[in-house]
């Protein structure tokens, strides 16, 4: 039952001049499918390499099943590796590619045949056993890579951009297959990517890194619903950010604050975060959490509890059909813009330039103190 733990791990290069990973602690449970994501240079690959044994931490410990693995080389860590560029041996057949690793480990013939057959069957490649890998396109090569990794019986899969070389359309189909396979085999998987959408689609748990630091860790749902900083809110999914300031504080009422945006005033219940009067703040809300009503909508006619819905007026600039969704681009009095996304079959007869009533549920609004450099926070690098 492998669990993987990083305890206060730091990694520096060039005699301490480059800080690649800055004091991170992570626990990965048995059978968990974990993603390490973040912009280029955030330290995700270095972290993966330390787990794999390809780098040693400068400080801190890597524990596998509670045991410090310092000095244990990659091949003795019970891990299978899958790479972006497959690293398949062209001069060996499909069968030989899979059995190679088993032979190197000195297993007997029966074991090798049994495990290779099982692994190739799992990825549906058994019928190609005697062919050379050159008959495959990229998806086939990556399946072979997976077969090779699981044939050794490794309980941990280490993957560095495993879908990075596939055509985007193919990768969207293949990612579900990859998750299903890992879950069905009960493996613990660690997957590095820069593709946020891919991590949302596959992960049990996502670790977001930036500048060597761990920013936030949690299930896709937790990170998506409760990002704890502006970068995370922006990195996963599509989010509106509007600037405003604290207009009033209601000390007794559940930490309620009243904020002014460019035009509208909103009442927001914040969750224990401290704000002072006139603080500059950023509010964040998802595109899909923005509800749209015509100006003459009769709010009393429905049973819905409107008290928790923040309502204000905005102008519809333009809307666009994007298949599964429709996007509405909206404008506030002060020129600030935001976006609403609705399902593609959303019925409406709004026209450009029309005034609309905007509704956002207060639980869907996140309030952050305005950072010194908002452009840095919102940049994805």
């Amino acid at each position: 039952m492998p669990t993987i733990e990083l305890v206060n791990v730091t990694k520096t290069f060039n005699e301490g001049k480059v800080l690649a990973v800055d004091n991170i602690s992570v626990r990965i449970e048995h059978g968990e499918y974990v993603f390490l994501i973040g912009p280029t240079g955030c330290g995700k690959t270095t972290t993966l390499r330390m787990i794999a044994g390809l780098e040693e931490p400068t400080k801190g410990k890597v524990l596998i099943d509670g045991k410090d693995v310092k000095g244990i080389p990659p091949e003795d860590r019970d891990m299978g590796f899958i790479f972006q560029h497959f690293e398949i041996f062209d001069h060996l057949t499909v069968w030989e590619n899979v059995t190679f690793g088993l032979e190197m480990r000195g297993y007997d013939d029966d074991h090798i045949v049994k495990e290779a057959e099982k692994a190739l069957k799992t990825v549906d490649l058994l019928q190609y056993a005697d062919e050379y890998p050159s008959i495959f396109g990229n998806p086939g090569l990556q399946k072979l890579g997976i077969a090779r990794a699981i044939a050794t019986g490794a309980k941990i899969l280490i993957m560095d951009e495993p879908l990075g070389s596939l055509d985007p359309k193919v990768s969207k189909v293949f990612r579900h297959e990859l998750r299903n396979l890992v879950k069905d085999l009960g493996l613990t998987a660690i997957h590095v990517t820069h593709n946020q959408e891919e991590s949302m689609a596959i992960a049990d748990k996502i670790i977001i890194m930036r500048g060597g630091k761990l920013l936030q860790m949690g299930s896709p749902y937790e990170l998506y619903e409760n990002p704890n900083n502006i970068f995370v809110a922006n990195f996963l999914g599509e989010t509106n950010f509007l600037q405003g300031f604290v207009l009033k504080l209601f000390e007794n009422e559940d930490m309620k604050i009243n904020i002014r945006l460019g035009g509208p005033e909103l009442n927001i219940y914040n969750f224990g975060k401290k704000f002072s009067l006139n603080d500059n703040i950023i509010i964040a809300f998802r595109y899909e959490d923005v509800y749209l009503f015509p100006e003459d909508y009769n709010f009393k006619s429905s049973q819905y509890d409107w008290s928790k819905m923040q309502l204000f007026v905005a102008i519809l600039e333009v809307s666009r059909f994007v298949g599964a969704t429709k996007r509405f681009y909206l404008l506030l009095d002060n020129g600030d813009k935001f976006v609403s996304v609705k399902p593609g079959n959303f019925e409406e007869s709004f026209t450009s330039g029309q005034k609309l009533v905007i509704g956002i549920h207060q639980d869907d609004i996140h309030v952050f103190k305005a950072p010194k450099d908002i452009l840095y926070e919102l940049s994805l690098s």
Binding site: M200, G237, V322
Partner: protein, 407 residues
């Protein structure tokens, strides 16, 4: 005015046919997308239009004039290709405003325009950086800015995967800015833009040409391509789909009134009913589904013939147990997997047709509270409005396998 027409254009490289018998028309001030998978011939098509390749046969017309034998320079088009070709000795502003010098535009106008495009692409603040100091995504944005300004006479811009190297967030916002820019009163551009991203295509295009294996499969508005795909490939390329193979039961009296309108009064559905006809198909011993078939195909398909029914994953609906009021186009199943994907929940549902198990994909918006009542192993009913079932002639098992990348 820019009106571009390709008539029966074919291009081969040695024995490989890159493009076969292409005829399309791109209208003045149109945002035209060429959409297709890797290796479909998209870039070759762009290069033919730009004059960087010559067709083996067929003709290319600009505003009615045959330019087939004209060079790229003579066609006077702005283009941006995947390798950005920035001037390494010039900083961002100099690179972007270079065209101002070439076209002898007045410096004030150039400065205003340069400022505008740099703001749009979030490059302001890095004005004096040189290309070698920039990331791939930034270089791509500089190249895009430069090509936007390098348009004096033709106002025709050709873009080959202009947003490919960008991070997800920026790519999304630039799609919209690009379209706004093209449609702005100052520029009013005609744009031909190549991409393999269907979301990007629907977001920016007035019309989309879907291309596969060197042939144009369909040309239409995003709406037409999405709701009236011409074949399985187009349907599959625009979103995740489910497919069923069934027997056309045309001449039989349908067991239920398929000609009645669905409860949904959506404009969309009435539109679909205009140019298609409903058709019940038998997908198993006891299951009949109905979908819509293009009117022009109705006579080609005979009773008892195999047909293909396609339903998009996001058009499938799902309810717990057997609670669907209207039992038509519905089938019982069990949830195998449930995954939160951000905007959507994605379900894999196991159903049985003809004693064979099949996995159906259903996606529902995460903002719909109802998803909270379904879990893995829940017994559910999945169903779809017949107007959103698309029926095709059966293209053959090998075509289905190839298109859906089942191998």
């Amino acid at each position: 005015m820019v009106n571009i027409e390709l008539k029966n254009v074919t291009k081969t490289f040695r024995k490989f046919t890159a493009l076969e018998d292409i005829s399309i028309e791109i209208r003045d001030k149109e945002y035209f997308i060429i959409l297709g998978p890797t290796g479909a011939g998209k870039t070759t098509l762009l290069k033919l239009i730009a004059g960087l390749h010559k067709p083996d046969s067929g003709n290319i017309f600009f505003d009615g004039k045959d330019v087939t034998n004209k060079t790229a320079g003579e066609r006077n088009i702005g283009f941006m290709f995947e390798n950005y070709a920035l001037f390494p000795h010039m900083n961002i502003v100099e690179n972007v405003s270079y065209s101002g010098r070439v076209h002898a535009r007045d410096p004030q106008t150039t400065a205003t325009l340069v400022n505008q495009v740099l703001m749009m692409t979030l490059l302001t603040g890095r004005n004096d950086a040189y290309p070698e100091e920039l990331s791939g995504g930034m270089k791509q944005r500089v190249a895009l800015c430069r090509s936007l300004l390098n348009l004096e006479q033709t106002k025709l811009l050709i873009l080959d995967e202009p947003l490919k190297a960008l991070d997800a967030g920026l790519r999304m916002s630039l799609r919209r800015e690009l379209r706004l820019m093209a449609k702005s009163k100052e520029l009013e551009l005609t744009i031909i833009h190549v991409t393999n991203d269907e979301q990007e295509a629907m977001m920016v295009a007035d019309r989309i040409a879907v291309i596969d294996q060197g042939r144009i499969v369909q040309v239409g508005t995003p709406h037409e391509i999405y709701y009236h795909p011409k074949n399985l490939f187009v349907a599959y390329f625009m979103s995740e789909i489910n497919h069923f193979i069934g027997i056309c039961t045309k001449s039989e009296k349908p067991t239920w009134d398929i000609f009645s309108k669905s409860k949904q009064s959506d404009k969309l559905y009435s539109e679909i009913q205009e140019d298609s006809v409903p058709l019940p198909i038998n997908i198993g011993f006891d299951a009949t589904f109905a979908g819509y078939l293009n009117k022009s195909l109705y006579d080609e398909i005979e009773h008892g013939e195999k047909v293909l029914l396609v339903v998009r994953a996001n058009h499938m609906k799902i309810r717990l147990g057997n609670r669907v009021y209207d039992k038509k186009n519905a089938i019982l199943g069990k949830i195998l997997r449930r995954k939160f994907m951000g905007v959507f929940y994605r379900f894999e549902v196991l159903i049985k047709i003809k004693q064979q198990e099949k996995v159906i994909i259903v996606t529902i918006p995460a903002t719909y509270e109802i998803h909270k009542t379904f879990f893995e192993n829940s017994e559910v009913t999945i169903y779809f409005p017949k107007e959103l079932g698309i029926i095709f002639k059966h293209p053959g098992e090998d075509v289905i396998t190839e298109v859906l990348k089942l191998e």
